[in-house]
C-alpha cells in the first residue's frame, strides 16, 4: 500500500470514527436514566432511614450521572482516546486539589460557632 493510500484510508477511518455517535433514541434513553437518577437522589435525601449511608449513596449516584453525560452526551465513549486523556488529566488534578485541600484544612482546628 502506498503512503498516499495509507494516509487517505487513515483520514477516512478517523472521519468515520468521529461520526460513530449514538442517535436520538439513545440520547433520549440516557436522558430518562439521568432523570430517574436525579429523582432517586432527591428521594434518598428525604429518607431518614438512609441517613447513615446518604453521603456515599449520593456520591455514587452523582458519579453515575457524570459518567453518563461525559460518555454519551459528550461522546468520550465513542471519540478518540486523546480527548479522554486530556479531560481525564484535568479531572485528576481537580480531584487532587479537592482531596489535598480537605486533608490540609482538616488538620487545623477552626474556630467553631459558640
Amino acid at each position: 500500500m502506498s503512503t498516499t493510500e495509507h494516509h487517505l484510508e487513515h483520514e477516512a477511518g478517523e472521519h468515520e470514527l468521529e461520526h460513530a455517535h449514538p442517535g436520538a433514541k439513545t440520547y433520549v434513553i440516557i436522558g430518562l436514566i439521568l432523570a430517574v437518577i436525579t429523582l432517586a437522589e432527591v428521594f434518598f435525601y428525604t429518607q431518614e432511614s438512609v441517613r447513615g449511608i446518604l453521603v456515599p449513596l449520593l456520591l455514587v449516584l452523582s458519579a453515575s450521572k457524570f459518567v453518563l453525560v461525559v460518555g454519551f452526551y459528550m461522546h468520550l465513549r465513542f471519540d478518540h482516546p486523546l480527548f479522554t486523556g486530556v479531560f481525564g488529566f484535568g479531572l485528576m488534578v481537580a480531584g487532587s486539589i479537592i482531596t489535598a485541600l480537605m486533608f490540609l484544612f482538616g488538620q487545623y482546628p477552626f474556630p467553631h460557632r459558640g
Binding site: M1, S2, T3, T4, E5, H7, L8, H10, E11, A12, E14, H15, E18, H19, H21, G23, A24, Y27, V28, I30, G31, L34, A35, T38, E41, V42, Y45, L54, V55, L58, L61, S62, K65, F66, V69, V70, Y73, M74, H80, L82, F83, V86, F87, F89, G90, L91, V93, A94, G95, I97, I98, L101, M102, F105, G106, F110, P111, H112, R113, G114
Partner: protein, 216 residues
Amino acid sequence: MAHTAVPVVVETGAAPPAPVEAPLVLEHPHTSTGQDNRKLLMWAFLASDCMFFGTLIATYLVYKNRSLDGPLPRETFDVPYTSVSAFVLLFSSLTMVLALAAIQRGDERRMRVWLTTTGLLGCVFLGGQFYEFTTFYRDGLTLSRNLFGSTFFTLTGFHGTHVFIGVFWLMSLVAHSLRGRLHQEHSLLVEIAGLYWHFVDIVWILIFTLVYLIPD
C-alpha cells in the same frame, strides 16, 4: 520567497497505485494528532475549567461548617426548588445533543428548534438562580455575611456566568443558521458548543450533590 507546490510522487516499489477515490469531505485539515485542533482545544479548556471549579468546590467544602454565625446551609437551601433547576439543566443537555443529531442529519430547521429550546432552558435556569439569590439575600445571606455566603455565591455565581456565556453562544449559532451560514458540514461547531454546554451541566450535577444534598 514564494514557494510553488510541487506534487511529490511516493515510490513504494509495488505496482502502480490504483486510482484512489477522494475521501469524504473532511471537516478539518490534516493535523499531527489526526483530530480537529478546535475540538482538542475545547477539551483542553474544559480540563482547565475542571481545575477551576475543583478549586471553588474544595474551598466551599473546607469552609462549609466554619461560619461563625448564620444563615447556614441547612436553614437556607430549598432543595425541592433547586431539584427543579437541576432537572431543567439536565433536560437542556438532552435538547443540546438532539440539536447536534439534527445538524449531523442535515436537518437545519430542527437543529435551530433544539438549540433555541436549549437556550431557553438555560434562561429558565438563570432565572431560577436569580430568584434563589434574591431570596437568600432577603434572608440575610450576602457575599460578605459569612464564609458560607462567600464560598456559596462565588461557586454558584461562576457557574451561572458559564451558563450565561453558553446561552449567548447557542443563540449566536441560531443566528448564524438563520443567516444560512451553518450547514451540515459545520456540525463540528455545534458539537464544540455542545461540549461546553454539557460541561456546565456536569458541574451542576456535582454542585447539586455536594452543596445542596449532602448534609452538614
